[in-house]
């Protein structure tokens, strides 16, 4: 079996998992929620194996590098980290519905990579031939994934809070009553960002360390660096806003969504729209 077949299986699993989670929203049968989680875990295992196999394949071809070097590889890795963080939160807090709002992010990434991006294993250009690539990319993407989860939770928060506001009572009916309470959603949002913020901090620091090692400048205000700092500022604002009264809840959820939008721009927009040193998806 080749790694690209396994990536396809993982993508399909996430699709099925998402559909099961949607069914769970509609039916509210506990077993359905469990099935959704299990299918996503299955996808995750295949996904993990695919990444390892692709790593091995790159050695077989003679290029020999971690599968983190082009846009295809980074998008599939990003999807992997989203499911990883989702799995941790799922196992720890067991709010199955969260899957319905988080798995789609991973599915979207995988589908885009499988259908729209070139999946060839390319040799590394000299600038990327360093172990720092590994540390930098892994920490950044784990941080991004935590923010993706926070964004999914915030969307749930806004839907639920909007419904409750409209109904005028705490008893919102239908699917939305399956959501965790808004208090819990708010708290989970904060927890996800508490995981993401130190990881993003580490990601920025390993990036700076690498730049210093390779070019002698730890900070050069290149657009990618600057955008990662912008994202960092937004989440720092989020953390401080929570300490002051009045910024819990709706405004915190909006700030978390804005933060994730900036994260996505930092990851993709910078390469597609702006120019700079970072080479992912430049072409």
């Amino acid at each position: 079996m080749t790694s690209s077949m396994m990536f396809n299986i993982a993508t399909f699993s996430y699709l099925v998992s998402m559909l099961i989670f949607f069914a769970f929203l509609a039916t509210r049968v506990k077993g359905v929620g469990l099935a959704g989680s299990l299918v996503s875990y299955f996808g995750f295992i295949v996904h993990t194996a695919a990444i390892i196999l692709r790593w091995k394949e790159s050695y077989d071809i003679g290029h020999g590098h971690a599968p983190l070097s082009n846009l295809y590889e980074s998008v599939t890795f990003f999807a992997w980290t989203i499911i990883l963080i989702f799995g941790i939160i799922d196992l720890k807090y067991k709010y199955r519905v969260v899957g319905a709002f988080v798995v789609p992010f991973a599915l979207f990434g995988m589908a885009w990579a499988q259908l729209g991006l070139s999946s060839g294993i390319e040799p590394l250009v000299p600038a990327l031939q360093s172990n720092w690539l590994l540390y930098h990319v892994i920490t950044c993407f784990l941080g991004y994934a935590a923010f993706a989860v926070a964004c999914g939770l915030s969307i749930m928060y806004l839907i639920k809070a909007g419904q409750e506001g409209a109904a005028g009572t705490a008893q919102a009916g239908g699917i939305i009553s399956m959501f965790p309470s808004i208090k819990i959603l708010d708290d989970l949002n904060y927890k996800a960002i508490m995981i993401g913020f130190p990881l993003l901090t580490l990601g920025i620091i390993t990036g700076a360390a690498w730049a210093n090692y390779a070019w002698g400048t730890y900070w050069s205000w290149d657009p990618k660096e600057t955008w990662s700092l912008i994202v960092w500022f937004i989440y720092a604002a989020f953390l401080h806003a929570r300490i002051t009264r009045g910024w819990v809840g709706k405004r915190a959820a909006i700030l978390s969504i804005v933060g994730f939008a900036a994260t996505i721009f930092c990851y993709l927009g910078v390469n597609l729209v702006l120019s700079g040193l970072h080479s992912y998806g430049g072409r």
Binding site: E122, P123, V125, P126, A127, Q129, S130, W132, D187, M194, I195, F197, P198, T201, L202, I205, A208, A209, N212, Y213, A214, W215, G216, T217, Y218, W219, W221, P223, T226, W227, L229, I230, F233, I234, A236, A237, H240, A241, I243, T244, W247, A262, V270, L274, S275
Partner: protein
């Protein structure tokens, strides 16, 4: 000092201590930083004028948008931000320090009401027995308590990880440390570049701000090599550098590649670019008449016109060590030459060193083969000295450690009040109240089962 003066200073201090200012500054920094990612930084006037009008150029340049991260207003924002962090931390630290160093040891009734979790238990035994039992229990299940006697009751206080409360201040201090490191680097360090031709050496470099800096030693480039993948993408740029200090070789032919720089006396050389030293190269060809006769060897410099035996002339237009980047079907060195037959029109074509028979297919009167060149390459090195970089890394380490302390550790406290036949437990945590509640319930359960 007049009262109004003091009032003003107090207001200023309060202003800088405010968390609202911090949130405002963070969002403002995020928003303004976008400008410099959209407008290219540090280009020349004509380059800007290709995309924007003269009026816009004037406006942007007045606002400092072309070097905006060093503009006065962005710097001002960063300084305000630093003052904000320092003031805010100074204001709050003493209170936090007091919580750590002078904990409340006695749980009065009113204090009990302020705690997030409490539990009452009826237990057999007189106060002294109960006290000893509770001390042993807390020690085993949580942490060793401090015992205080008050009005005939015993009060126990135990805590875990009190220093985690300082995590936030470690993070805030780390930002100041990083700023200091950056300032040290900008005042005591430099960034520059130097090109060294193979076989050549330098003892000074040019900084990006246009100064010449004496290195105090000599760097020689013994050799430069670039290699390519089959696809034509570059694989490795490698310079062999030798450092001589006071006439003595201190570093001998050390390979320097991208991602593996050379450092000597605090100055670091990074492989960054390369090129062909246009002045020096000589190219070698063999020319023979299609109709026969002995082949002739010809050597020519760049742009140099050479007379050939049949009266035509040739000259080298361009050459490369690796042609596959331009003509993917071929590999190896190649040269584009221009040949002007006597009284005819010039023709230009490419000859390949690895494909000596190729030029026969062209059908010209003369057949050329390319024998290679002894062109000189130059290596382009970035040169940097930054004595502040260790301060920056220290700050970064503090930031990560502080974040972990602030987010993943929690100052947990438990108080116990022992009256005759009656024990009250209360507690609280600085983080994650739900997690603390679980732990607290477990502890109470264990006590009940004892």
């Amino acid at each position: 000092m007049t009262t109004s003066n003091r009032g003003f200073l107090q207001a200023l201090w309060d202003f800088f201590c405010s968390l609202k200012l911090a949130i405002f500054l963070l969002i403002l920094l995020a928003a303004t930083s976008i400008i410099g990612t959209i407008i290219p930084q540090g280009q020349l006037r004509p380059e800007y004028l290709q995309t924007i009008s003269e009026t816009k150029l004037k406006l942007y340049s007045t606002l400092g948008f072309f070097d905006m991260y060093h503009s006065w207003w962005f710097m001002l924002l960063l300084y305000l931000f630093t003052v904000n962090i320092v003031a805010c931390s100074i204001k709050r630290l003493p209170r936090v320090w007091k919580i750590i160093s002078e904990p409340t040891l006695i749980m009065t009734d009113s204090f009990e009401k302020s705690l997030s979790v409490t539990h009452d238990l009826r237990l057999e035994g007189d106060t002294v027995t109960l006290r000893d039992r509770m001390v042993a229990f807390l020690k085993a299940e949580f942490a060793a308590p401090v015992v205080t006697e008050h009005d005939g009751e015993f009060h126990l206080f135990a805590q875990k990880a009190p220093y985690s409360r300082l995590g936030v201040y470690v993070v805030h201090l780390s930002i100041v440390v990083i700023f200091i490191g950056a300032l040290i680097g900008s005042f005591l360090g430099f960034k520059g570049y130097v090109n060294i031709t193979e076989g050549g050496s330098v003892s000074s470099v040019q900084t990006f701000s246009g100064q010449r800096i004496d290195l105090g030693f000599t760097v020689k480039c013994d050799d430069f090599k670039v290699s390519f993948y089959d696809t034509g993408a570059p694989k490795e740029f490698k310079s062999l550098l030798t450092v001589m200090d006071n006439g003595r070789v201190v570093i001998d032919k050390r390979p320097v590649i991208v991602n593996d720089p050379l450092t000597y006396k605090g100055i670091t050389f990074y492989q960054s670019s390369y090129g062909q030293d246009e002045a020096g190269g000589i190219f070698y060809f063999t020319v023979r008449d299609r109709k026969g006769g002995t082949p002739v060897k010809v050597s020519a410099g760049y742009g140099e016109k050479k007379l050939l035996p049949d009266g035509s002339t040739m000259q080298v237009l361009e050459a490369t060590q690796e042609v596959s980047q331009f003509v993917p079907q071929f590999s190896g060195p190649a040269a584009r030459i221009e040949v002007t037959p006597k009284g005819g029109e010039p023709v230009s074509f490419i000859v390949f060193k690895n494909f000596p028979a190729f030029d026969e297919q062209r059908g010209g009167a003369l057949v050329f083969t390319y024998d290679g060149s002894d062109e000189k390459m130059y290596t382009g090195l970035q040169v940097a000295k930054d004595p502040g970089v260790w301060v920056v890394w220290t700050g970064c380490f503090m930031m990560v450690a502080g974040c972990c302390m602030a987010f993943f550790m929690s100052h947990k406290r438990i108080w116990v009040r022992v009256r005759k036949g009656h024990v009250t437990i209360g507690g609280g945590a600085s983080k994650n109240p739900a997690g603390f509640q679980l732990m607290f319930d477990e502890i109470v359960d264990k006590l009940k089962k004892q």
